[in-house]
């Protein structure tokens, strides 16, 4: 197994790396196209603001590389959001992997949506994870549900907590910070 975490200067990558280490997997950090293409599994992290993260991807050509990858790819948090068509945050075009848009929560509830919420998950990523398990999330923007949803969550409105399409996967929540169920999800991803 050769896991690469895409390092483009926008993310809490240490936590993901440590979570993989706890599962006995070592991961390489890289923004090099050759390295990334050679990986058996690619993790695409991200925290922060969408348009500046997208600019960083464009500067290194990763924006064109990522949608062409053929091995399992997991986008986490902002990573997942950037894999959608468009984000309202900074009015940014996304990578277009998932056919949906990312918009801001418009609600009287607190924004950011921060803490542990229940996810109704299905298919390979959620194998062995009880329905409505709690995952840790922190985000102010969300992906609108579409046909790719494999994890459903509601905060004021239903939103996509996990997406899956062909070899591409995404989670709005942080599996690396979601205790036992998060570790199981990462293990499921590595088993793909």
């Amino acid at each position: 197994m050769n896991v690469v975490i895409i390092d483009y200067g926008a993310g809490n990558i240490q936590s993901i790396r440590f979570a993989l280490e706890r599962l006995g997997a070592t991961a390489t950090l890289s923004h090099d196209a050759v390295e990334i293409k050679k990986a058996t599994h690619v993790i695409f992290p991200g925290v922060g603001e969408a348009s500046s993260a997208m600019e960083k991807l464009q500067a290194t050509g990763l924006d064109t590389l990522i949608p062409t990858l053929t091995q399992p790819v997991l986008g986490i948090c902002l990573g997942m959001q950037l894999m959608c068509n468009h984000s309202e945050e900074g009015n940014t075009k996304g990578l277009g992997v998932f056919n949906t848009d990312v918009v801001r929560f418009k609600t009287n509830l607190n924004v950011p949506h921060m803490g542990w919420n229940t996810v109704d998950g299905k298919e390979a990523l959620f194998q062995g994870i009880p329905s409505n398990s709690h995952f840790y999330m922190v985000h102010s923007y969300y992906a609108k549900p579409n046909a790719d949803v494999v994890g459903a969550c509601t905060y004021a409105v239903p939103f996509a907590a996990a997406l899956s399409k062909n070899n591409f996967y995404g989670t709005q929540f942080h599996p690396e910070k979601s205790g036992v169920v998060g570790a199981t999800l990462l293990q499921n991803f590595l088993a793909l």
């Binding site: 706890r22 925290v47 950011p112 803490g115 919420n117 709690h134 910070k177 979601s178």
Partner: protein, 250 residues
Amino acid sequence: MLTKRIIPCLDIKDGRTVKGVNFVSLRDAGDPVELAARYAQEGADELVFLDISASEEKRKTLAKMVRDVARAIDIPFTVGGGISAVDDVAILLDNGADKVSVNSSAVRRPELISELAQRFGTQCIVVAIDAKQLENEWVVHLVGGKLPTDRKLFEWAKEAVDRGAGELLFTSMDHDGTKQGFANAALKKLSETVSVPIIASGGAGDMTHFVDTFAHGNADAALAASVFHFKEIGIPDLKTYLRQHKIPVR
């Protein structure tokens, strides 16, 4: 459903937990990593590490501790104490902290909040506010409640959020250490003043206090130290009790 969070707070000095900790089964009760792992395993939803050391070596020691904690635990954690510059925060986040909290330095120079939010995103910036009531007004205090400022709690909270605080940690100095419950009236007003999550701190004594602060104080999370460290309240028991009282918990 989004759940209410329970957050044990660990005071750290020179990379070690301070205050007695009554965990007989721990090999080393002063080891923050072992204690953190224990709390995570027991069902704590997050952890806060408050660094009170003042030594020259502080930054290096703290960064190493953060890295060791991040390696060991699989729940989010916040690190605070003496953070006054963007570079301090970069080191902590790079080593695996999920959020940082700023307190005195933000009161002295509020632009710090804006700078941190812009560089790292609002989601990882917690503004901690210590306040106590003076002549019926909640006044922000510094240095652990010893030094009053000319800032009022609700105005400062609003400014902090406008500048980019993603979360507030409010400690009532009037309630801290009393074990008589949290400052629920002030917490409720705070939740009506700002639209970010609020962590209640100061006053936890028994399990009813947690129900009260969630049900009546509108708190999103509750933080406590000694009741957890001295095993007066076990986190699994607290979660069960909250569930029985219709408070959504993990």
